[in-house]
Subunit: 250 residues, 2 copies
DNA sequence: ACAAAAGTGTTATGATTACACCCATGG
DNA sequence: CCATGGGTGTAATCATAACACTTTTGT
Protein backbone atom coordinates (compact mmCIF):
# COMPACT_ATOMS: atom_id res chain seq x y z
CA UNK A 1 0.00 0.00 0.00
CA UNK A 2 1.73 3.18 -1.16
CA UNK A 3 1.29 5.72 1.62
CA UNK A 4 2.82 8.51 -0.42
CA UNK A 5 0.89 8.98 -3.65
CA UNK A 6 -2.66 10.17 -3.20
CA UNK A 7 -5.38 11.95 -5.12
CA UNK A 8 -7.26 14.83 -3.61
CA UNK A 9 -10.69 16.22 -4.47
CA UNK A 10 -12.79 19.04 -3.16
CA UNK A 11 -15.78 16.74 -2.61
CA UNK A 12 -15.83 13.06 -1.68
CA UNK A 13 -16.24 10.56 -4.51
CA UNK A 14 -17.63 7.04 -4.54
CA UNK A 15 -15.31 4.39 -5.92
CA UNK A 16 -16.37 3.17 -9.36
CA UNK A 17 -16.13 -0.47 -10.35
CA UNK A 18 -17.37 -2.81 -13.04
CA UNK A 19 -18.69 -6.34 -12.58
CA UNK A 20 -19.29 -8.91 -15.29
CA UNK A 21 -21.84 -11.67 -15.39
CA UNK A 22 -20.38 -14.18 -17.83
CA UNK A 23 -22.79 -16.73 -19.25
CA UNK A 24 -21.75 -19.86 -21.09
CA UNK A 25 -23.61 -22.72 -22.65
CA UNK A 26 -22.39 -26.28 -22.78
CA UNK A 27 -24.02 -27.91 -25.77
CA UNK A 28 -24.86 -31.55 -25.22
CA UNK A 29 -21.63 -33.43 -25.82
CA UNK A 30 -21.20 -35.64 -28.83
CA UNK A 31 -21.12 -39.20 -27.71
CA UNK A 32 -24.66 -39.73 -26.64
CA UNK A 33 -23.70 -40.80 -23.15
CA UNK A 34 -22.33 -37.42 -22.22
CA UNK A 35 -25.79 -36.03 -21.82
CA UNK A 36 -27.37 -32.70 -21.64
CA UNK A 37 -26.87 -29.10 -22.30
CA UNK A 38 -26.04 -26.82 -19.39
CA UNK A 39 -26.36 -23.11 -18.93
CA UNK A 40 -23.59 -21.70 -16.76
CA UNK A 41 -22.12 -18.62 -15.06
CA UNK A 42 -18.46 -17.93 -14.48
CA UNK A 43 -17.43 -16.92 -10.96
CA UNK A 44 -14.08 -16.26 -9.37
CA UNK A 45 -13.01 -17.02 -5.87
CA UNK A 46 -12.00 -13.93 -3.94
CA UNK A 47 -8.46 -13.93 -2.60
CA UNK A 48 -8.82 -10.77 -0.54
CA UNK A 49 -11.27 -9.36 1.98
CA UNK A 50 -14.07 -8.58 2.10
CA UNK A 51 -15.78 -11.90 1.40
CA UNK A 52 -12.38 -13.58 1.15
CA UNK A 53 -12.69 -17.15 -0.08
CA UNK A 54 -16.24 -16.65 -1.33
CA UNK A 55 -17.30 -16.66 -4.95
CA UNK A 56 -18.00 -13.40 -6.75
CA UNK A 57 -18.45 -11.88 -10.19
CA UNK A 58 -15.25 -10.94 -11.98
CA UNK A 59 -14.71 -7.18 -11.85
CA UNK A 60 -12.62 -4.34 -10.56
CA UNK A 61 -11.96 -0.62 -10.54
CA UNK A 62 -12.45 1.68 -13.48
CA UNK A 63 -9.20 3.43 -14.36
CA UNK A 64 -9.03 7.11 -15.27
CA UNK A 65 -7.81 6.63 -18.81
CA UNK A 66 -10.31 3.99 -19.93
CA UNK A 67 -14.04 4.07 -20.61
CA UNK A 68 -16.30 2.12 -18.29
CA UNK A 69 -16.89 -0.46 -20.99
CA UNK A 70 -13.14 -0.77 -21.58
CA UNK A 71 -12.73 -1.47 -17.88
CA UNK A 72 -15.22 -4.31 -18.15
CA UNK A 73 -13.37 -5.76 -21.14
CA UNK A 74 -10.05 -5.48 -19.34
CA UNK A 75 -11.22 -7.04 -16.09
CA UNK A 76 -12.81 -9.89 -17.95
CA UNK A 77 -9.58 -10.62 -19.74
CA UNK A 78 -7.41 -10.20 -16.65
CA UNK A 79 -9.50 -12.32 -14.34
CA UNK A 80 -10.74 -15.04 -16.64
CA UNK A 81 -8.64 -14.92 -19.80
CA UNK A 82 -11.77 -14.36 -21.87
CA UNK A 83 -11.73 -11.80 -24.68
CA UNK A 84 -13.49 -10.83 -27.90
CA UNK A 85 -16.95 -11.73 -26.70
CA UNK A 86 -20.41 -10.24 -26.67
CA UNK A 87 -20.56 -7.73 -23.82
CA UNK A 88 -23.42 -5.42 -22.98
CA UNK A 89 -24.09 -3.01 -20.16
CA UNK A 90 -26.69 -4.33 -17.77
CA UNK A 91 -27.41 -1.91 -14.94
CA UNK A 92 -25.62 0.29 -12.46
CA UNK A 93 -25.83 -0.71 -8.82
CA UNK A 94 -25.54 2.27 -6.55
CA UNK A 95 -27.05 1.50 -3.15
CA UNK A 96 -25.18 3.08 -0.27
CA UNK A 97 -24.34 -0.05 1.71
CA UNK A 98 -23.53 -2.44 -1.11
CA UNK A 99 -19.80 -2.56 -0.32
CA UNK A 100 -19.00 -2.89 3.39
CA UNK A 101 -15.65 -1.09 3.16
CA UNK A 102 -16.28 1.96 1.11
CA UNK A 103 -18.96 3.69 -0.92
CA UNK A 104 -18.74 1.86 -4.23
CA UNK A 105 -20.92 2.15 -7.31
CA UNK A 106 -20.68 -0.66 -9.81
CA UNK A 107 -21.61 -0.70 -13.46
CA UNK A 108 -22.58 -4.28 -14.28
CA UNK A 109 -22.15 -5.91 -17.69
CA UNK A 110 -23.10 -9.30 -18.99
CA UNK A 111 -21.10 -11.36 -21.46
CA UNK A 112 -22.13 -14.29 -23.62
CA UNK A 113 -19.43 -16.71 -24.51
CA UNK A 114 -19.16 -19.79 -26.56
CA UNK A 115 -17.34 -22.41 -24.55
CA UNK A 116 -15.93 -24.10 -27.63
CA UNK A 117 -13.83 -21.17 -28.82
CA UNK A 118 -13.22 -19.51 -25.45
CA UNK A 119 -11.87 -21.97 -22.95
CA UNK A 120 -11.55 -20.16 -19.65
CA UNK A 121 -8.25 -19.99 -17.89
CA UNK A 122 -9.38 -21.63 -14.71
CA UNK A 123 -6.63 -19.72 -12.94
CA UNK A 124 -5.11 -16.48 -14.21
CA UNK A 125 -2.41 -15.00 -12.00
CA UNK A 126 -3.43 -17.40 -9.27
CA UNK A 127 -7.10 -16.44 -9.23
CA UNK A 128 -9.56 -19.24 -9.20
CA UNK A 129 -12.32 -19.19 -11.83
CA UNK A 130 -15.07 -21.77 -12.14
CA UNK A 131 -18.27 -22.40 -14.07
CA UNK A 132 -21.46 -22.94 -12.09
CA UNK A 133 -24.59 -24.41 -13.57
CA UNK A 134 -27.73 -22.34 -13.21
CA UNK A 135 -30.90 -24.40 -12.75
CA UNK A 136 -28.74 -27.47 -12.08
CA UNK A 137 -31.30 -28.75 -9.66
CA UNK A 138 -34.48 -27.06 -8.58
CA UNK A 139 -33.40 -23.86 -6.85
CA UNK A 140 -29.68 -24.37 -6.97
CA UNK A 141 -29.70 -20.85 -8.27
CA UNK A 142 -30.58 -19.96 -4.71
CA UNK A 143 -27.76 -22.11 -3.41
CA UNK A 144 -25.18 -20.27 -5.44
CA UNK A 145 -26.55 -17.01 -4.28
CA UNK A 146 -25.96 -17.71 -0.63
CA UNK A 147 -22.31 -18.08 -1.48
CA UNK A 148 -21.91 -14.86 -3.45
CA UNK A 149 -20.42 -11.78 -1.83
CA UNK A 150 -21.64 -8.16 -2.10
CA UNK A 151 -24.93 -7.74 -3.97
CA UNK A 152 -23.73 -10.10 -6.65
CA UNK A 153 -26.71 -12.40 -6.31
CA UNK A 154 -28.92 -9.46 -7.19
CA UNK A 155 -26.72 -8.62 -10.17
CA UNK A 156 -26.87 -12.21 -11.35
CA UNK A 157 -30.66 -12.25 -11.10
CA UNK A 158 -30.82 -9.03 -13.04
CA UNK A 159 -28.56 -10.41 -15.77
CA UNK A 160 -30.57 -13.59 -16.02
CA UNK A 161 -33.81 -11.65 -16.33
CA UNK A 162 -32.29 -9.48 -19.04
CA UNK A 163 -31.01 -12.45 -20.98
CA UNK A 164 -34.33 -14.26 -20.74
CA UNK A 165 -36.13 -11.20 -22.03
CA UNK A 166 -33.64 -10.22 -24.69
CA UNK A 167 -33.11 -13.63 -26.21
CA UNK A 168 -36.73 -13.51 -27.29
CA UNK A 169 -36.39 -10.42 -29.45
CA UNK A 170 -32.72 -10.23 -30.43
CA UNK A 171 -30.64 -13.00 -31.93
CA UNK A 172 -28.08 -13.02 -29.13
CA UNK A 173 -28.42 -16.71 -28.33
CA UNK A 174 -26.06 -17.48 -31.19
CA UNK A 175 -23.24 -15.87 -29.19
CA UNK A 176 -23.43 -18.86 -26.86
CA UNK A 177 -23.09 -21.48 -29.58
CA UNK A 178 -20.25 -22.49 -31.86
CA UNK A 179 -20.32 -20.88 -35.30
CA UNK A 180 -21.94 -23.97 -36.77
CA UNK A 181 -24.68 -25.56 -34.72
CA UNK A 182 -27.64 -27.85 -35.10
CA UNK A 183 -31.22 -26.79 -34.74
CA UNK A 184 -31.55 -29.08 -31.73
CA UNK A 185 -28.64 -27.39 -30.00
CA UNK A 186 -30.27 -24.04 -30.63
CA UNK A 187 -33.56 -25.32 -29.30
CA UNK A 188 -31.93 -26.75 -26.19
CA UNK A 189 -30.29 -23.38 -25.61
CA UNK A 190 -33.64 -21.59 -25.72
CA UNK A 191 -35.21 -24.22 -23.53
CA UNK A 192 -32.47 -23.92 -20.93
CA UNK A 193 -32.47 -20.14 -20.83
CA UNK A 194 -36.22 -19.70 -20.91
CA UNK A 195 -36.53 -22.70 -18.63
CA UNK A 196 -39.46 -24.27 -20.48
CA UNK A 197 -39.92 -26.83 -23.24
CA UNK A 198 -40.51 -25.79 -26.84
CA UNK A 199 -42.23 -27.71 -29.59
CA UNK A 200 -39.66 -29.09 -32.01
CA UNK A 201 -41.64 -28.69 -35.21
CA UNK A 202 -42.88 -25.22 -34.43
CA UNK A 203 -39.42 -24.10 -33.34
CA UNK A 204 -37.79 -25.28 -36.56
CA UNK A 205 -40.57 -23.89 -38.73
CA UNK A 206 -40.31 -20.48 -37.16
CA UNK A 207 -36.53 -20.21 -37.34
CA UNK A 208 -36.25 -21.54 -40.87
CA UNK A 209 -39.02 -19.23 -42.05
CA UNK A 210 -36.97 -16.18 -41.03
CA UNK A 211 -34.38 -17.34 -43.53
CA UNK A 212 -31.49 -16.20 -41.34
CA UNK A 213 -29.85 -19.59 -40.93
CA UNK A 214 -27.35 -20.65 -43.55
CA UNK A 215 -27.20 -24.37 -44.19
CA UNK A 216 -23.47 -25.13 -44.17
CA UNK A 217 -23.92 -28.40 -46.01
CA UNK A 218 -21.92 -29.99 -43.18
CA UNK A 219 -23.30 -32.45 -40.69
CA UNK A 220 -22.61 -33.36 -37.14
CA UNK A 221 -20.08 -36.16 -36.73
CA UNK A 222 -19.47 -38.82 -34.12
CA UNK A 223 -23.02 -39.09 -32.85
CA UNK A 224 -24.71 -42.42 -32.28
CA UNK A 225 -27.81 -41.46 -34.22
CA UNK A 226 -28.77 -39.73 -37.41
CA UNK A 227 -26.38 -36.80 -37.96
CA UNK A 228 -27.94 -33.36 -37.86
CA UNK A 229 -27.48 -30.58 -40.37
CA UNK A 230 -25.16 -27.74 -39.27
CA UNK A 231 -26.26 -24.13 -39.67
CA UNK A 232 -24.70 -20.70 -39.23
CA UNK A 233 -26.52 -17.53 -38.28
CA UNK A 234 -26.48 -14.98 -41.09
CA UNK A 235 -25.51 -11.84 -39.20
CA UNK A 236 -25.10 -9.70 -42.33
CA UNK A 237 -28.57 -10.50 -43.53
CA UNK A 238 -30.01 -9.94 -40.07
CA UNK A 239 -28.48 -6.46 -39.90
CA UNK A 240 -29.89 -5.58 -43.29
CA UNK A 241 -33.38 -6.80 -42.37
CA UNK A 242 -33.24 -5.03 -39.02
CA UNK A 243 -32.58 -1.73 -40.76
CA UNK A 244 -35.77 -2.26 -42.72
CA UNK A 245 -37.83 -2.83 -39.59
CA UNK A 246 -37.59 -6.59 -39.30
CA UNK A 247 -37.79 -7.90 -35.78
CA UNK A 248 -36.39 -11.23 -34.64
CA UNK A 249 -39.00 -12.78 -32.38
CA UNK A 250 -39.12 -16.18 -30.87
CA UNK B 1 -14.85 27.29 -3.18
CA UNK B 2 -13.63 25.87 0.13
CA UNK B 3 -9.88 25.52 -0.26
CA UNK B 4 -9.45 23.80 3.08
CA UNK B 5 -11.64 20.68 3.19
CA UNK B 6 -10.57 17.99 0.80
CA UNK B 7 -10.84 14.27 0.31
CA UNK B 8 -7.90 12.11 -0.62
CA UNK B 9 -7.75 8.61 -2.06
CA UNK B 10 -4.99 6.20 -2.86
CA UNK B 11 -6.12 5.92 -6.49
CA UNK B 12 -7.76 8.53 -8.69
CA UNK B 13 -11.55 8.41 -8.98
CA UNK B 14 -13.85 9.61 -11.72
CA UNK B 15 -16.57 12.01 -10.64
CA UNK B 16 -20.01 10.42 -10.57
CA UNK B 17 -23.09 12.26 -11.71
CA UNK B 18 -26.70 11.57 -12.64
CA UNK B 19 -28.64 13.04 -15.56
CA UNK B 20 -32.39 12.89 -16.08
CA UNK B 21 -34.31 12.85 -19.32
CA UNK B 22 -37.74 14.13 -18.36
CA UNK B 23 -40.53 13.41 -20.81
CA UNK B 24 -43.94 15.04 -20.74
CA UNK B 25 -47.02 14.83 -22.87
CA UNK B 26 -49.36 17.69 -23.60
CA UNK B 27 -52.75 16.17 -24.37
CA UNK B 28 -54.66 18.03 -27.03
CA UNK B 29 -56.28 20.97 -25.25
CA UNK B 30 -60.02 21.07 -24.76
CA UNK B 31 -61.43 23.74 -26.97
CA UNK B 32 -61.04 22.24 -30.37
CA UNK B 33 -59.03 25.17 -31.65
CA UNK B 34 -56.12 24.55 -29.31
CA UNK B 35 -54.96 21.67 -31.42
CA UNK B 36 -52.69 18.79 -31.07
CA UNK B 37 -50.93 16.67 -28.61
CA UNK B 38 -47.22 17.25 -28.10
CA UNK B 39 -44.49 15.05 -26.76
CA UNK B 40 -41.84 17.04 -24.89
CA UNK B 41 -38.53 16.98 -23.01
CA UNK B 42 -37.56 19.19 -20.13
CA UNK B 43 -34.19 20.93 -20.36
CA UNK B 44 -32.45 23.45 -18.17
CA UNK B 45 -30.21 26.28 -19.21
CA UNK B 46 -26.73 26.01 -17.77
CA UNK B 47 -25.60 28.91 -15.63
CA UNK B 48 -22.01 27.78 -15.27
CA UNK B 49 -19.25 26.58 -17.54
CA UNK B 50 -18.74 24.37 -19.35
CA UNK B 51 -21.46 24.89 -21.97
CA UNK B 52 -22.63 27.98 -20.06
CA UNK B 53 -25.88 29.32 -21.47
CA UNK B 54 -26.60 26.14 -23.42
CA UNK B 55 -29.42 23.73 -22.71
CA UNK B 56 -28.72 20.48 -20.92
CA UNK B 57 -30.38 17.66 -19.05
CA UNK B 58 -31.06 18.28 -15.37
CA UNK B 59 -28.54 16.45 -13.22
CA UNK B 60 -25.64 16.72 -10.79
CA UNK B 61 -23.24 14.95 -8.52
CA UNK B 62 -24.01 11.84 -6.52
CA UNK B 63 -23.49 12.46 -2.81
CA UNK B 64 -21.83 9.94 -0.52
CA UNK B 65 -24.81 9.32 1.70
CA UNK B 66 -27.43 8.75 -1.02
CA UNK B 67 -27.98 5.97 -3.53
CA UNK B 68 -27.52 6.79 -7.19
CA UNK B 69 -31.26 6.66 -7.72
CA UNK B 70 -31.83 8.96 -4.75
CA UNK B 71 -29.42 11.42 -6.36
CA UNK B 72 -31.54 11.39 -9.52
CA UNK B 73 -34.70 12.01 -7.52
CA UNK B 74 -33.05 14.83 -5.60
CA UNK B 75 -31.60 16.57 -8.63
CA UNK B 76 -34.89 16.36 -10.44
CA UNK B 77 -36.65 18.01 -7.54
CA UNK B 78 -33.97 20.66 -7.01
CA UNK B 79 -33.60 21.67 -10.62
CA UNK B 80 -37.14 21.39 -11.90
CA UNK B 81 -39.44 21.16 -8.86
CA UNK B 82 -40.74 17.82 -10.11
CA UNK B 83 -41.25 14.98 -7.65
CA UNK B 84 -43.15 11.72 -7.16
CA UNK B 85 -42.88 10.61 -10.74
CA UNK B 86 -41.99 7.51 -12.69
CA UNK B 87 -38.20 7.29 -12.83
CA UNK B 88 -36.14 4.47 -14.26
CA UNK B 89 -32.45 3.95 -14.82
CA UNK B 90 -31.52 4.23 -18.48
CA UNK B 91 -27.83 3.67 -19.06
CA UNK B 92 -24.46 4.71 -17.71
CA UNK B 93 -22.33 6.90 -19.91
CA UNK B 94 -18.66 6.42 -19.21
CA UNK B 95 -16.61 7.51 -22.21
CA UNK B 96 -13.33 9.17 -21.25
CA UNK B 97 -13.80 12.52 -22.97
CA UNK B 98 -17.48 13.12 -22.26
CA UNK B 99 -16.87 15.96 -19.81
CA UNK B 100 -14.21 18.45 -20.95
CA UNK B 101 -13.12 19.43 -17.43
CA UNK B 102 -12.76 16.21 -15.56
CA UNK B 103 -13.28 12.48 -15.91
CA UNK B 104 -16.98 12.13 -15.21
CA UNK B 105 -19.21 9.09 -15.42
CA UNK B 106 -22.93 9.72 -15.52
CA UNK B 107 -25.77 7.39 -14.68
CA UNK B 108 -28.72 8.50 -16.80
CA UNK B 109 -32.37 8.12 -15.79
CA UNK B 110 -35.57 8.91 -17.58
CA UNK B 111 -38.73 10.22 -16.00
CA UNK B 112 -42.29 10.30 -17.27
CA UNK B 113 -44.46 13.06 -15.98
CA UNK B 114 -48.01 14.08 -16.39
CA UNK B 115 -48.10 17.79 -17.12
CA UNK B 116 -51.52 18.23 -15.52
CA UNK B 117 -50.48 17.28 -12.01
CA UNK B 118 -46.84 18.29 -12.17
CA UNK B 119 -46.45 21.83 -13.38
CA UNK B 120 -42.75 22.51 -13.68
CA UNK B 121 -41.19 25.36 -11.83
CA UNK B 122 -39.79 27.12 -14.86
CA UNK B 123 -37.14 28.56 -12.58
CA UNK B 124 -36.00 27.04 -9.30
CA UNK B 125 -33.23 28.88 -7.47
CA UNK B 126 -32.72 30.98 -10.58
CA UNK B 127 -32.21 28.07 -12.95
CA UNK B 128 -34.10 28.20 -16.18
CA UNK B 129 -36.17 25.15 -17.15
CA UNK B 130 -38.14 24.77 -20.38
CA UNK B 131 -40.11 22.19 -22.31
CA UNK B 132 -39.03 21.39 -25.85
CA UNK B 133 -41.16 19.53 -28.32
CA UNK B 134 -39.65 16.44 -29.89
CA UNK B 135 -40.70 15.85 -33.49
CA UNK B 136 -42.07 19.40 -33.61
CA UNK B 137 -41.19 19.62 -37.23
CA UNK B 138 -39.38 17.05 -39.30
CA UNK B 139 -35.95 16.71 -37.70
CA UNK B 140 -36.26 19.35 -35.06
CA UNK B 141 -34.99 16.63 -32.81
CA UNK B 142 -31.71 17.24 -34.57
CA UNK B 143 -32.03 20.99 -34.00
CA UNK B 144 -32.33 20.59 -30.25
CA UNK B 145 -29.38 18.31 -30.24
CA UNK B 146 -27.01 20.86 -31.69
CA UNK B 147 -27.81 23.03 -28.70
CA UNK B 148 -27.23 20.42 -26.00
CA UNK B 149 -23.98 20.31 -24.08
CA UNK B 150 -21.87 17.27 -23.16
CA UNK B 151 -23.12 14.00 -24.67
CA UNK B 152 -26.66 14.90 -23.74
CA UNK B 153 -27.95 14.51 -27.28
CA UNK B 154 -26.80 10.91 -27.18
CA UNK B 155 -28.47 10.39 -23.82
CA UNK B 156 -31.69 11.87 -25.15
CA UNK B 157 -31.63 9.56 -28.17
CA UNK B 158 -31.04 6.62 -25.91
CA UNK B 159 -33.97 7.58 -23.68
CA UNK B 160 -36.26 8.06 -26.64
CA UNK B 161 -35.32 4.67 -28.05
CA UNK B 162 -35.97 3.07 -24.68
CA UNK B 163 -39.33 4.73 -24.29
CA UNK B 164 -40.40 3.78 -27.81
CA UNK B 165 -39.47 0.18 -27.14
CA UNK B 166 -40.82 -0.07 -23.64
CA UNK B 167 -44.15 1.59 -24.21
CA UNK B 168 -45.00 -1.35 -26.46
CA UNK B 169 -44.67 -3.99 -23.77
CA UNK B 170 -45.20 -2.20 -20.45
CA UNK B 171 -48.08 0.09 -19.54
CA UNK B 172 -45.87 3.09 -18.83
CA UNK B 173 -47.64 5.44 -21.21
CA UNK B 174 -50.27 6.08 -18.55
CA UNK B 175 -47.63 7.88 -16.47
CA UNK B 176 -47.75 10.63 -19.06
CA UNK B 177 -51.51 11.14 -18.90
CA UNK B 178 -53.85 12.50 -16.24
CA UNK B 179 -55.43 9.84 -14.04
CA UNK B 180 -58.59 9.94 -16.12
CA UNK B 181 -58.11 10.10 -19.87
CA UNK B 182 -59.97 9.39 -23.06
CA UNK B 183 -59.10 6.60 -25.45
CA UNK B 184 -58.27 9.18 -28.08
CA UNK B 185 -55.77 10.87 -25.80
CA UNK B 186 -54.15 7.52 -25.17
CA UNK B 187 -54.06 6.78 -28.86
CA UNK B 188 -52.54 10.18 -29.65
CA UNK B 189 -49.89 9.49 -27.01
CA UNK B 190 -48.92 6.22 -28.66
CA UNK B 191 -48.97 7.81 -32.08
CA UNK B 192 -46.71 10.64 -30.96
CA UNK B 193 -44.21 8.43 -29.21
CA UNK B 194 -44.10 5.69 -31.81
CA UNK B 195 -44.28 8.37 -34.47
CA UNK B 196 -46.78 6.52 -36.64
CA UNK B 197 -50.55 6.43 -37.07
CA UNK B 198 -52.66 3.72 -35.45
CA UNK B 199 -56.07 2.46 -36.49
CA UNK B 200 -58.73 3.82 -34.17
CA UNK B 201 -60.99 0.78 -34.07
CA UNK B 202 -58.21 -1.73 -33.68
CA UNK B 203 -56.54 0.35 -30.99
CA UNK B 204 -59.71 0.57 -28.91
CA UNK B 205 -60.57 -3.08 -29.42
CA UNK B 206 -57.16 -4.21 -28.26
CA UNK B 207 -57.04 -2.01 -25.19
CA UNK B 208 -60.58 -2.70 -24.08
CA UNK B 209 -60.09 -6.43 -24.55
CA UNK B 210 -57.30 -6.44 -21.96
CA UNK B 211 -59.88 -5.26 -19.48
CA UNK B 212 -57.39 -3.02 -17.69
CA UNK B 213 -59.20 0.25 -18.26
CA UNK B 214 -61.83 1.25 -15.74
CA UNK B 215 -64.68 3.27 -17.15
CA UNK B 216 -65.04 6.12 -14.67
CA UNK B 217 -68.59 6.91 -15.81
CA UNK B 218 -67.37 10.49 -16.26
CA UNK B 219 -67.09 12.25 -19.57
CA UNK B 220 -64.93 14.92 -21.01
CA UNK B 221 -66.31 18.42 -20.64
CA UNK B 222 -65.96 21.63 -22.56
CA UNK B 223 -65.29 20.11 -25.95
CA UNK B 224 -67.02 21.27 -29.09
CA UNK B 225 -68.04 17.80 -30.12
CA UNK B 226 -69.42 14.63 -28.62
CA UNK B 227 -67.88 14.18 -25.17
CA UNK B 228 -65.59 11.17 -24.76
CA UNK B 229 -65.72 8.61 -21.99
CA UNK B 230 -63.00 8.93 -19.32
CA UNK B 231 -61.03 5.87 -18.25
CA UNK B 232 -58.46 5.04 -15.58
CA UNK B 233 -55.73 2.44 -15.85
CA UNK B 234 -56.26 -0.40 -13.37
CA UNK B 235 -52.78 -0.74 -11.93
CA UNK B 236 -53.78 -3.25 -9.23
CA UNK B 237 -55.30 -5.59 -11.73
CA UNK B 238 -52.35 -5.20 -14.07
CA UNK B 239 -49.93 -6.20 -11.31
CA UNK B 240 -52.00 -9.26 -10.47
CA UNK B 241 -52.18 -10.34 -14.12
CA UNK B 242 -48.48 -9.72 -14.63
CA UNK B 243 -47.67 -12.10 -11.78
CA UNK B 244 -49.60 -14.77 -13.61
CA UNK B 245 -47.62 -14.27 -16.82
CA UNK B 246 -49.80 -11.71 -18.58
CA UNK B 247 -47.95 -9.39 -20.89
CA UNK B 248 -49.19 -5.95 -21.92
CA UNK B 249 -48.53 -5.67 -25.63
CA UNK B 250 -49.55 -3.00 -28.03
C1' DA C 1 -32.05 -55.21 -34.25
C1' DC C 2 -32.05 -51.68 -31.05
C1' DA C 3 -31.43 -47.09 -29.12
C1' DA C 4 -31.34 -42.28 -29.92
C1' DA C 5 -32.16 -38.24 -31.91
C1' DA C 6 -33.28 -36.01 -36.75
C1' DG C 7 -36.53 -34.62 -39.62
C1' DT C 8 -41.17 -33.54 -41.49
C1' DG C 9 -47.27 -31.40 -42.37
C1' DT C 10 -51.79 -30.57 -41.23
C1' DT C 11 -55.51 -28.67 -38.84
C1' DA C 12 -57.94 -25.63 -35.51
C1' DT C 13 -57.84 -21.55 -33.16
C1' DG C 14 -56.89 -16.95 -32.12
C1' DA C 15 -54.85 -12.43 -33.44
C1' DT C 16 -54.20 -8.84 -36.70
C1' DT C 17 -55.37 -5.92 -40.33
C1' DA C 18 -58.12 -3.09 -43.34
C1' DC C 19 -61.91 -0.44 -43.82
C1' DA C 20 -66.69 3.59 -43.53
C1' DC C 21 -70.47 5.40 -41.44
C1' DC C 22 -73.66 7.42 -37.88
C1' DC C 23 -73.75 10.00 -33.35
C1' DA C 24 -73.44 13.69 -29.95
C1' DT C 25 -72.05 18.26 -28.79
C1' DG C 26 -70.91 23.33 -29.03
C1' DG C 27 -70.67 27.23 -31.68
C1' DC D 1 -76.92 23.44 -39.52
C1' DC D 2 -72.21 22.72 -39.57
C1' DA D 3 -67.75 21.27 -37.89
C1' DT D 4 -65.43 18.24 -34.93
C1' DG D 5 -64.11 14.29 -33.10
C1' DG D 6 -66.54 9.93 -30.57
C1' DG D 7 -67.96 5.63 -31.15
C1' DT D 8 -68.92 1.12 -33.48
C1' DG D 9 -68.49 -4.32 -36.57
C1' DT D 10 -67.15 -7.52 -40.06
C1' DA D 11 -64.45 -10.22 -43.15
C1' DA D 12 -59.82 -11.75 -44.86
C1' DT D 13 -55.41 -12.92 -43.68
C1' DC D 14 -51.79 -14.51 -40.90
C1' DA D 15 -49.54 -16.55 -36.89
C1' DT D 16 -49.62 -19.89 -33.31
C1' DA D 17 -50.28 -24.21 -31.05
C1' DA D 18 -51.12 -28.97 -30.78
C1' DC D 19 -49.88 -33.22 -32.30
C1' DA D 20 -47.04 -38.65 -34.20
C1' DC D 21 -44.55 -41.10 -37.15
C1' DT D 22 -40.58 -42.33 -40.34
C1' DT D 23 -35.49 -41.86 -41.17
C1' DT D 24 -30.71 -42.27 -40.28
C1' DT D 25 -26.75 -43.66 -37.76
C1' DG D 26 -23.71 -46.15 -34.41
C1' DT D 27 -23.25 -49.86 -31.38
Amino acid sequence: MPASITYTYEYPRPALTVDCVVFGFEVGVGVGVGVGAAFKVLLIRRKLPPYEGQWALPGGFVQMEESVEAAAVRELQEETGVKDVFLEQLYTFGAVGRDPRDRTVSVAYYALINLQSHPVQAATDASDARWFKLFELPKIGAKIETVLGFDHAEILDCALARLQAKIRYEPIGFELLPKAFTLSQLQRLYEQILNRPLDKRNFRKKLLKMDLLIDTGQQETGVAHRAAQLYQFDLEKYRALKQRGFSFEL
